[in-house]
């Protein structure tokens, strides 16, 4: 009913309101109270500046049915994000205090309070503003003043609503909460009909609360979790892959390095046969000059490099060369790949990672030696059945087929 009058539907407008707020204020930790089937959370998970995303609902079945929709998808693994992201879903009541809900940057409570018994609202206020004490809170609820504009509506908008507040009632409640817990509130809303009386306000009224006082660290950060009671039940806990995970970072960077090493090697093979020896002589020379200048800084070495390049041809020492079956690539050359640069941040960091990896060696003159595996360049002869019985690969590396919808919807 309401959805047909507004485009986009008013529930989408509410979510877009939150998304816009998130885009502008970039909160790191967001919790959605009354997350129900997690529609808002599923939208918010694309905003990777958020590092912790939590949802609370009293109904565990609705969460269980939907929670896997919040799991990372393959692309999250293929290109891990820069920021960490943890998603937690809890079963619990918003009138209970759970230490894990403390210290959030944003608490959202979208069309939730009207489902509470009126006498529980004070408890809710106390828990959200006094206990959770987030930096900001977005609280929306139906505007009873707007109800006459909704066709065919008698009573409340939903049979499970315990109350619906007028603009004045909502604002009185909000201002009281602000006075008590040190917040300021701004009133707004979503859903208006063309030509309506402006004073009626929005279909959904929204209060955006901002904390005035900064709290002492002890009370605002969760931490003493172990000592307190945990009334919420954790139903779902997932950590998204991100570059903050050291293993993932290492792997991603090394993949990039080895890919570029291979690309450079291939490029080199095209021009092979020219100046291999030349390159090695240059390396010696570089070493000599380096020893004269002593412990150079990175930038200093760069200068030397540039100077050298000026004296040599295009296939100077900046180019990779082969030593036996390994490929040698000057660190500076690897560093010049934008993706490698972006991942590692500093040359020093890159070097540390390289020193850690058994697949490469970093020589004293900052050349990266990509060690050859035991493979040999081998061509398959088209007419000799060399691998006739080793067909294991083509089976396991089956090309994928489109998703077939096997699943009978779980409802």
């Amino acid at each position: 009913m309401m959805n047909s009058i507004f485009t986009p539907p008013v529930y989408i407008q509410r979510h877009e309101f939150v998304v816009d707020f998130v885009k502008k204020n970039k909160p790191k930790k967001v919790i959605d109270l009354g997350c129900s089937n997690c529609t808002l959370l599923r939208k918010l998970k694309f905003h990777r500046e958020i590092e912790v995303l939590a949802g609370v609902d009293i109904d565990s079945d609705v969460i269980r049915n939907i929670m896997y929709a919040l799991a990372p998808i393959p692309s999250d693994y293929l290109q891990p994000g820069d920021h960490p992201l943890t998603i937690n879903l809890y079963q619990g009541s918003v009138t209970d205090r759970d230490p894990r809900t403390k210290g959030f940057d944003l608490v959202t409570s979208i069309e939730l309070i009207e489902h509470l018994q009126l006498e529980d609202v004070d408890m809710f206020t106390e828990v959200v503003f006094g206990y959770m004490a987030p930096v900001a809170a977005i609280i929306s609820t139906p505007n009873a003043d707007f109800n006459p504009l909704l066709p065919r509506l008698t009573g409340f908008r939903h049979p499970q609503h315990r109350f619906e507040w007028t603009k004045a009632e909502f604002q009185t409640w909000a201002l009281k909460a602000c006075r008590e817990f040190g917040y300021v509130v701004e009133f707004t809303g979503v859903g208006q009909i063309q030509g309506q009386e402006e004073s009626i306000g929005f279909c959904s009224q929204i209060g955006v609360f901002q904390r005035v006082r900064s709290l002492s660290d002890a009370s605002c950060r969760q931490g003493d979790v172990t000592e307190e009671r945990l009334p919420y039940r954790l139903l779902y806990d997932v950590v998204y892959p991100s570059l903050c995970d050291n293993n993932i970072f290492h792997r991603t960077l090394m993949n990039e390095v080895l890919y570029w090493a291979e690309t450079l090697r291939k490029g080199q093979m095209v021009t092979a046969g020219q100046g291999g020896e030349h390159t090695e002589r240059l390396e010696e020379r570089m070493e000599r000059e380096e020893s004269q200048t002593g412990g150079e800084q990175q930038c200093g070495r760069r200068e030397v490099n540039e100077e050298l390049e000026g004296q040599t041809t295009a296939q100077g020492h900046e180019e990779p060369y082969r030593a036996g079956r390994s490929v040698c690539i000057p660190l500076a050359r690897l560093w010049s790949c934008p993706r490698v640069q972006a991942l590692s941040g500093t040359v020093q960091h890159l070097k540390e990672v390289l020193l850690d990896d058994p697949r490469v060696e970093v020589t004293e003159d900052d050349t990266v030696m990509v060690l050859a595996g035991d493979e040999e360049d081998d061509d398959e002869d088209p007419e000799l059945d060399e691998n006739i019985n080793n067909a294991e690969t083509d089976q396991s590396l089956d090309s994928s087929v489109e998703n077939k919808d096997w699943e009978i919807d779980l409802g």
Partner: protein
């Protein structure tokens, strides 16, 4: 003949009886559905069970039971072996039944979601375990025959829901099996595995091949089916190849390589047919086309308003498009729209948000990539068993997974299935036409290249008029090859021709030097560039039919291997000209074996190529080969009918009579095509045979050969889990009750786990014992002349594969009929 023990003689009567039964049953298999509609008792193909059935008919049980035991002990050839297989039994409560209900809503509710919500308001009646698709409800327990429930919508509307029991499904019913698979998928998702395509993969511990930007996720293929005596989960380790680059970066790199000119064509060739994974949801799409005139700035209709792709992704997923000029990808979505509406039409995808999966044809052809991949993905039997056990262990340990299974009253066995197999006896290899020279091979290695040394072949073609072509750069290797060839065969006087390393000059050299009297053309190729090879084969298979032998110079450059290579080349050349290398004892007379395979040319015009290879003599050493090109959508057998008639005529010419038995090994049948082989191809084959002569009715057997299966077998030998020895035959437990099927591990592998071959006899009027069918199949795996050992399929299948591949990859036309009697495609 087969083992002539006196016991067998004693039991002859019993066998005859069993044969009769078998023939009846095969016809039944042929005419009834293969989809396993009904619950089926013990295996019928497997002849001792089988015999047991027949015995029951007769009532004289005790006597025949004894006979049956004797049969088990003596009649079946091969020595028993204890095996493990990658199957886990499904344990359900006894008398487990799945209840199927029909659910009606009054008034009618449009939205499926709403219907579910309304129904699930009655958890106290329905219970926690339930599956509902909007109309059909499955529960593990029984409600009253008809239950009426009342719910209320959010709007306060009262809805009457009637739940009517429509079916009680035993565990073996197809619906139930599908249901098991669905439950199992839920369980996999609970283990945090990622679904890509049909299977589930573990993304947390990827293998990387950074050189090619490949990421490999280990995972599992799983299917739950009714096997011989129980419902089992068949699971195998699978690997998914993903690319850690987007389609956009792939396109940019390709453009960089090809330049603007060739980009469009190259891009279409490389991308069309690939499966991509989108960044914003968990769906895969097949690229069907590229929309060259669409960019992210184009708009599409969303609801009532137009929105650009750029804005859509921005608002919907907060994803920014960095390149506004990228062209979009087109995917034809086949799946029907919501509530049965027709498919929504093609989906347009933004390359920047698509990741490539799988391998391109080009990568598949790249030997180095494939080698890298196989070193990562190949697992020894012990590693494989370890992974499977860990997998099932994880299911058992995961609380959520256990809860899901328990609510439905299901569980899995926690260890691999143990079963018995038999190792068929090793064959003796005969070398002279007179059969008096024979040798044996090491049964574990299944290779007789050493044993063959110094033993004359069955027949040798004299090589009098031949030429060798090579580039000036390869003079040395060509000379070396010639010398070694002279050493391995008898001295040959050969005129040698040089050719320039250019395609035109290679062709010109062929045109100038090859004449009808030329018996053989040897070309030393400077590299394995496909175009050169293709042009040689095209000219010599179509325009100027002459057997030819190509060899890449690199293969000859390794001094220490030259002797082996030259021997192989000499043997290969001999075969191509009609020579015969060896044979095995075939204890059936007037038998023609036919092999059929096909090749699907995805690149050029989507044509299919069907190849048929048929034996011409008793020793299975001479073959008739024919290849047909089919346009898309045409049944492969339509074209091969003529080929089969040609084969029968050739047999008639060679043997002065028509064969009294024909056994067709049909390879290249996909999972979904089995039914069409039975319903369409078998009658076609029969019709084609009948048309040869009036009253000509040979005994016919049609066997579908399948190499790409997920069944694996392991043997425990000296306390270690190893591959089963070549010749291992399995026809119990893991076979299907509705089929006459068996597995044979015929080949030996040096690395990784061996992959068994599955044989499914879909039609049989031969009256052959299953044991003899199995042994004959195994014998035929010895007969592929380009490999001095046992291969994984019967030789005619491999020949047909080789022929179809050559035509599909290189020639693209039907080869000249003058070559029909030669194995020119080796």
């Amino acid at each position: 003949m087969f083992e002539d023990t006196c016991i067998e003689g004693l039991l002859e009567a019993a066998i005859v009886m069993q044969k009769g039964q078998l023939a009846r049953e095969s016809v039944k298999t042929n005419t009834t559905s293969i989809d396993g509609e009904q619950a089926i008792g013990p295996g019928r193909h497997n002849h001792y069970y089988y015999f047991f059935l027949a015995v029951d008919d007769i009532c004289n049980k005790t006597f025949f039971r004894i006979l049956w035991v004797l049969l088990l002990l003596f009649c079946i050839s091969g020595s028993p072996i204890d095996l493990k297989a990658n199957f886990f039994k499904i344990l359900s409560r006894p008398q487990w039944v799945l209840y199927q209900y029909h659910v009606d809503f009054k008034p009618v509710m449009e939205s499926r979601r709403l219907r579910s919500a309304l129904l699930f308001q009655h958890e106290e009646t329905l219970g926690k375990a339930r599956t509902f698709d909007g109309a059909i409800l499955f529960l593990p327990h029984r409600l009253h025959n008809s239950t009426v429930l009342y719910s209320e919508t959010r709007m306060g509307e009262k809805v009457q829901i009637t739940v009517t029991l429509t079916n009680e499904l035993p565990p073996t019913s197809p619906v139930c099996l599908q249901f098991y698979n669905i439950i199992f998928r839920r369980v996999l998702r609970m283990l945090n595995m990622q679904q890509i395509g049909r299977h589930y993969y573990n993304p947390t511990d990827p293998l990387n091949i950074p050189q090619h930007r490949l990421t490999i996720w280990p995972g599992f293929t799983t299917t739950i089916l009714q096997y011989e005596s129980s419902i089992m989960l068949c699971t195998d380790v699978s690997h998914k190849v993903l690319r850690s680059e987007t389609v956009l970066s792939f396109m940019l790199e390709l453009r960089h390589r090809t330049g603007e000119q060739g980009f469009t064509a190259a891009c279409t060739k490389e991308l069309v047919g690939l499966i991509v994974l989108t960044k914003y949801n968990n769906k895969t799409y097949r690229i069907d086309d590229i929309a060259w005139d669409y960019t992210p700035n184009n708009t599409f209709k969303r609801g009532d308003s137009e929105i650009s792709f750029k804005d859509y992704y921005k608002t919907q997923y907060s994803l920014d498009i960095s390149d506004d000029h990228q062209v979009l990808l087109v995917s034809n979505v086949k799946k029907a729209g919501p509530s049965g509406r027709p498919p929504p039409g093609p989906a347009l995808l933004v390359p920047e948000f698509c990741y490539l999966t799988g391998l391109t044809d080009k990568m598949r052809a790249d030997f180095n990539i494939m080698k890298d991949l196989s070193t990562h993905t190949r697992l020894t039997p012990e590693q494989r068993e370890g992974r499977l056990n860990r997998f099932v262990g994880n299911i058992h340990r995961n609380a959520n997974a256990q809860a899901e299974l328990t609510t439905w009253g299901l569980n899995f066995d926690n260890k691999l299935l143990s079963l018995k197999g038999r190792v068929l006896p090793a064959e003796r290899i005969f070398s002279l036409a007179l059969w008096h020279l024979q040798y044996e091979y090491n049964p574990w290695q299944a290779d007789w290249s050493k044993e063959m040394r110094g033993i004359p072949l069955i027949s040798c073609r004299p090589l009098e008029n031949w030429i060798m072509l090579f580039t000036p750069r390869n003079v040395d290797v060509a000379q070396a090859l010639l010398q070694t060839l002279n050493r391995v065969s008898k001295p040959l006087g050969i005129p040698m021709q040089k050719y320039e390393d250019r395609q035109e000059s290679l062709l010109k050299a062929l045109q100038q030097n090859v004449n009808p009297a030329t018996q053989m053309v040897v070309v030393v190729l400077p590299s394995n560039r496909k175009d050169k090879y293709d042009s040689v084969k095209k000219y010599l298979c179509v325009d100027c039919p002459t057997p030819s032998q190509c060899v890449v110079a690199r293969t000859l450059s390794r001094q220490q291997a030259l002797m082996t290579v030259a021997t192989k080349i000499a043997l290969q050349m001999n075969c191509k000209m009609g020579g015969e290398l060896w044979s095995v004892d075939i204890p059936l007379k007037q038998l023609m074996i036919v092999g059929i395979d096909c090749y699907h040319d995805t690149a050029a015009g989507k044509r299919s190529i069907g190849a048929l290879v048929a034996s011409l003599n008793h020793g299975m050493s001479r073959w008739f080969s024919k290849c047909v090109l089919q346009s898309r959508g045409q049944e492969i057998m339509d074209g091969l009918k003529g080929a089969l008639q040609g084969a029968l005529k050739a047999w008639l010419k060679h043997n002065k009579c028509l064969p009294s038995r024909i056994i067709v090994y049909r390879d290249g049948v996909g999972d979904g095509m089995l039914q069409s082989v039975v319903n369409y191809e078998v009658p076609q084959i029969m019709g084609c045979i009948k048309s040869m002569e009036q009253k000509y009715e040979p005994k016919l057997t049609v066997v579908v050969v399948k190499k790409r299966i997920s069944s694996r077998f392991f043997a425990r030998i000296d306390g270690k889990l190893t591959n089963p020895p070549p010749g291992t035959c399995i026809d119990t437990e893991v076979t299907r009750p509705e089929w006459y099927d068996f597995f044979i591990v015929s080949q030996a592998v040096r690395m990784g786990s061996v992959s068994p071959t599955h044989y499914n006899v879909v039609y049989d009027s031969s009256g052959l014992k299953p044991d003899h069918m199995q042994r004959l199949t195994y014998k035929l795996c010895h007969m592929y002349y380009n490999w001095q050992g046992i291969i994984r399929v019967p030789a005619p299948c491999q020949y047909a594969h080789k022929l179809a591949f050559l035509v599909g990859q290189s020639i693209h036309r039907e080869p000249n009929t003058n070559l029909d009697d030669f194995l020119y495609y080796l």
